[in-house]
Each structure stands twice: as structure tokens, then as C-alpha cells.
């Protein structure tokens, strides 16, 4: 049969785990508290906090968007639908040329198709798209997964501030525009 100790040590590992789960505070406080000792999170009652960079849902800051269509073009799934029109805007100072402004009519992201890759957020030259770690937006109907302009703007409130970088980094910290 060989040496038995290998089997007994294996039992020791699982035995140790059950003791650690039932008595998470160790031998000092032998009160059974498996809810604290288990490594799982009881989802609907407690929720885990994803990290700040987590790719949960995309938020739109409408003022910055100029309908340049870069995000719609670069999306691997073509799930962004943009429609806009041009309008005349008053000149910046008196006596100047009238400017042209792009007004967004429609900016939809279809989250049923979205791969959550982040290419749209990355290529936007005007910092109009941001990642938010919100992940609870499932719907009973697939059609409701198409988030329109107003819903995407609502997600801006959940966008966390950008984090500081590690020492030695030369990257510049970006700012989330205030809503």
C-alpha cells in the first residue's frame, strides 16, 4: 500500500479548511461563524466591489462628443449607432465667423452585442466615453439592452475618478468631467 501518511496529510488539508471556515477567528474565539469564514459572497444580499478600472458599462459625456464616428468605426462588433446633424453656433467673439457645431441626435450602444473591449473608449479623441464599473443592468428583454443617449449619460454618475499611478510611471492622470 505504501506510506499511509500521504493520505492522512491530505485529510489534514481538508480538515484544516473546514475548521478555518467554521471558526474564522481561530482557536481564540471558538464561535462557529461560517458566514464570515467562507470565501464566497452571498450575491443578492452582499455585493462585491469591482475595481475602479473594471469594464462594467460605458458612459457618455455628451458635451464632448462631436459625432466624429471614430468609436462607431473602430468597434469590432459595430454596436454603436450614431446620428447627428450640423447646426450654426454663434461666433466665439463679436464680429467673427459663425461656427458649425455637431449636434448628436442619436447615440446608442447595443450592449447585447458589445464585447466590452474598450476600443471605443480608447480611440475617442475628445474624451466623451468613460468606463463605469456598474454591472447590474440585465433586462428581461434583449431589446432593452440597447442603451440610448439619455441612459448612457445617466451612467456618467457612476464613473469613478481615475486612480493615481504607481511610482516610476510617466503616465498622466486623466480627469473625469463633472456631470
Amino acid at each position: 500500500m505504501g506510506l499511509v501518511p500521504g493520505l492522512i496529510k491530505g485529510l489534514g488539508v481538508t480538515g484544516g479548511t473546514i475548521l478555518r471556515t467554521v471558526f474564522p477567528d481561530g482557536i481564540k474565539k471558538p464561535i462557529p461563524n461560517p458566514v464570515k469564514g467562507a470565501e464566497t459572497v452571498q450575491y443578492p444580499h452582499e455585493k462585491e466591489e469591482p475595481t475602479a478600472r473594471a469594464r462594467g458599462v460605458i458612459a457618455l459625456h455628451e458635451e464632448n462628443c462631436t459625432s466624429c464616428m471614430l468609436c462607431a468605426r473602430e468597434c469590432p462588433d459595430w454596436c454603436i449607432y450614431i446620428e447627428g446633424h450640423k447646426e450654426k453656433a454663434p461666433p466665439r467673439r463679436a464680429g467673427g465667423k459663425t461656427r458649425q457645431k455637431n449636434i448628436l441626435d442619436r447615440f446608442d450602444i447595443d450592449f447585447a452585442l458589445c464585447m466590452f473591449c474598450g476600443i471605443c473608449v480608447e480611440v475617442c479623441p475628445f474624451e466623451a466615453l468613460f468606463w463605469s464599473p456598474e454591472y447590474e443592468f440585465s433586462e428581461p428583454r434583449i431589446a432593452d439592452l440597447l442603451h440610448d443617449k439619455s441612459r448612457l449619460s445617466e451612467w456618467m454618475e457612476t464613473v469613478p475618478d481615475f486612480e493615481d499611478y504607481e511610482a516610476g510611471s510617466e503616465a498622466k492622470k486623466l480627469k473625469v468631467p463633472p456631470t
Binding site: M1, E39, T40
Partner: protein
């Protein structure tokens, strides 16, 4: 087991039978249910750093009711090519062997189902009936996987019957009787080197037999490391693959009930059964305390069974057979010889 307490109440044969049958149902199903709940759902989940069922009832205690309800409302699928009678009868055959086993267990000085001098011999003989049930399930499913599982199970269960029985023989020699009640009294009234403090639980002298009995019991219950018949990652569910709904639940209940009953037999043979050190075994209080003590001992032994089940990988079929025939049987025969020598000359 309270049946015999009420013996004085009414001596009619049919009343006695009804009480005993009722008590037997309670003893099997309640114990099986509690074991499933406590050990399978909770204890094993803690071993895996998780909590197990928590939604049904406080801390998931009503999960078993939810499971029973779920299985009852499922469609009863009968495969087209399956032999209808064999397929449908198989779970009942397996369950019936459990009920027959519980008949010989004593729960107290007056709380027993039947008093029979065949005791343990009857139990061992009747426990083999489940093999037929498993073979029926494997063959009647008209499924290659189930057939493989059923054949493996048959080979395994028959091979491990022998160490089981031979381990018991050592205890019988030491106790001098096959009657399980007699074995309990022999342990309760016995003495270790003249000190009668805790009686003489046979686990101390028959530790080899205890070791063999636990291993053989693990194999008889087709628990890992001997669960080749139900090798989940290969045969999906072995002989149980084609079963759904209530029939599947019957197999499930049978598995846990048999675990409970076999542990009860082990508790009687090795741990002193329903006797508690300190209380006189003929005292009337033992009729109420006895079943509870048995229940506790059953929980402890099934804890060990499930602990081993969820820690170890499984043996391959030929390694399993080699273990039984080349290791366990010679060891148990040696145990019998040594016990006989000690009994006759010392």
C-alpha cells in the same frame, strides 16, 4: 424503536407491526434526510470554503424539502429501448435492502425491531440485495454508459462484501454472539484490564477490523475513493444516468440511508451502540436516550465517511479489486486468527 415502549399499551399483532414499520420508516428516512442536510450540504461545503445552500429556510435547513419538491414535479422519463419493469423497479430494490437492514438495529434495552440470534449475519446477507438493484438499473437503462457503470458496480460490491463480513467475524468472536443487542451488552458490561469505566468498546481491541470495516463500508456505499460506478467525470452518473425525478431521488435517499444504517451497524459493533459510559445499560432512561446516542455516533461515523469521500481521488477498477483481494482479505483473516488466539488462550 419507541414501538416496544408502547408494547405494553397494546399487544395486538397488527398494532405492533404498524408501530414498528412506522418507526422503521422514521429511522431510515429521517436519518437519511438529516445526514444529507448536515453532511452533504453543509459540512462538505465548509470543507470547500463555501457556504452551501443558504436560501431555503434559515441557513438553508429546508433545502432537502425543496429538493424533494423539485424532483417530484419532474417528468418521469423512461427511455424507449429500456426494459420498463426492470428500469422502474431498480430504485425500489435498492431502497428495500436498506429497510431490511435497519430491522436488526437495537436502539435501547427494550427499543428494538426484532430480537434475532442471527443479527449481524442477517444484516450482511440482506445488504447484498442492493447489488441486484444496481445491476437492474445499469442493464435496464439501455445506455452503454449505464451498463459500464452497472457492471463495474457489481464487481466492486461483490468483491468488498468479503472484507466486510470477515471484519465482523472478529467482533463476533470477541462478543460470543451474533445478536446485535448481545454485542452491545457485551461492550457495555465489559472491562478493559479490569477497569469498567467505559465498558469495552471493541474499537480498542479490534482496531484492525474497524479499519477494514470502514474501508469496506466506503466501497459498499460506492463512495470515493471507490466510486468508479458513479465516476462523475467519466460516466456522468454511471448506472443512474437515465434516471430523473423521483426515481433518481430514491437512489439518492437509498445511498444516504444506507450510509446511515451501515454507520449504525459500525457504531453497534465497535463503539458500543446505544450504551453510554456511566449509565447502567438496563436502565429505562436508555430507551429514550439510546436512539439519540446512536444518532450521534452515526453522525460522527458518517462525518468520517464523507470527509474521506470528498478528499480522495478514486481508484481504478483493477486497483480497487487488487486492494480488496490482495490486501483487505488477508488482513481480515489475520485479524480473525489473532482474535481467536486471544479469546481462547487469554
Amino acid at each position: 424503536m419507541i414501538a416496544s415502549l408502547l408494547a405494553s399499551w397494546n399487544d395486538d399483532y397488527w398494532v405492533q407491526t404498524l408501530l414498528r414499520v412506522g418507526a422503521g420508516l422514521v429511522a431510515v428516512i429521517l436519518v437519511a434526510g438529516t445526514l444529507v442536510m448536515l453532511h452533504l450540504f453543509k459540512m462538505v461545503s465548509f470543507m470547500q470554503s463555501r457556504l452551501g445552500p443558504m436560501e431555503a429556510g434559515p441557513f438553508g435547513s429546508l433545502q432537502l424539502l425543496a429538493e424533494v419538491g423539485k424532483h417530484l414535479q419532474k417528468e418521469d422519463i423512461l427511455p424507449t429501448k429500456a426494459d420498463k419493469f426492470v428500469f422502474s423497479a431498480a430504485p425500489f430494490v435498492v431502497l428495500s435492502s436498506t429497510f431490511l437492514l435497519v430491522v436488526v438495529l437495537p436502539g435501547g434495552p427494550d427499543a428494538w425491531f426484532i430480537q434475532n440470534d442471527l443479527g449481524i449475519y442477517l444484516a450482511m446477507a440482506v445488504s447484498s440485495v442492493s447489488v441486484i438493484g444496481i445491476l437492474m438499473a445499469g442493464w435496464g437503462s439501455a445506455n452503454k454508459y449505464s451498463l459500464l457503470g452497472g457492471l463495474r458496480a457489481t464487481g466492486q460490491l461483490i468483491a468488498y462484501e468479503l472484507p466486510l463480513i470477515l471484519a465482523v467475524v472478529g467482533v463476533v468472536i470477541q462478543a460470543g454472539t451474533m445478536n446485535l443487542q448481545g454485542i452491545v451488552f457485551a461492550q457495555a458490561d465489559g472491562e478493559i484490564f479490569g477497569w469498567g469505566g467505559i465498558g469495552n468498546p471493541y474499537i480498542l481491541t479490534q482496531f484492525v477490523a474497524f479499519f477494514i470495516f470502514m474501508i469496506a463500508m466506503q466501497a459498499e456505499l460506492t463512495q470515493a475513493p471507490f466510486d468508479m460506478p458513479i465516476a462523475e467525470s467519466e460516466l456522468v452518473s454511471g448506472y443512474m444516468t437515465e434516471y430523473s425525478g423521483m426515481r433518481f431521488l430514491l437512489f439518492f435517499i437509498a445511498e444516504f440511508a444506507t450510509a446511515g444504517v451501515f454507520s449504525a451497524i459500525a457504531a453497534v459493533l465497535f463503539l458500543g451502540g446505544w450504551s453510554v459510559p456511566g449509565i447502567d445499560p438496563t436502565d429505562n432512561i436508555m430507551n429514550v436516550l439510546g436512539p439519540l446516542v446512536m444518532f450521534l455516533k452515526v453522525i460522527v461515523l458518517t462525518f468520517i465517511v464523507f470527509w474521506v469521500r470528498f478528499t480522495f481521488p478514486r481508484f481504478r477498477e483493477d486497483q480497487l479489486q487488487r486492494l480488496a483481494w490482495k490486501f483487505l482479505i488477508p488482513l481480515s483473516l489475520a485479524n480473525i486468527v489473532v482474535t481467536a488466539i486471544f479469546k481462547v488462550w487469554i
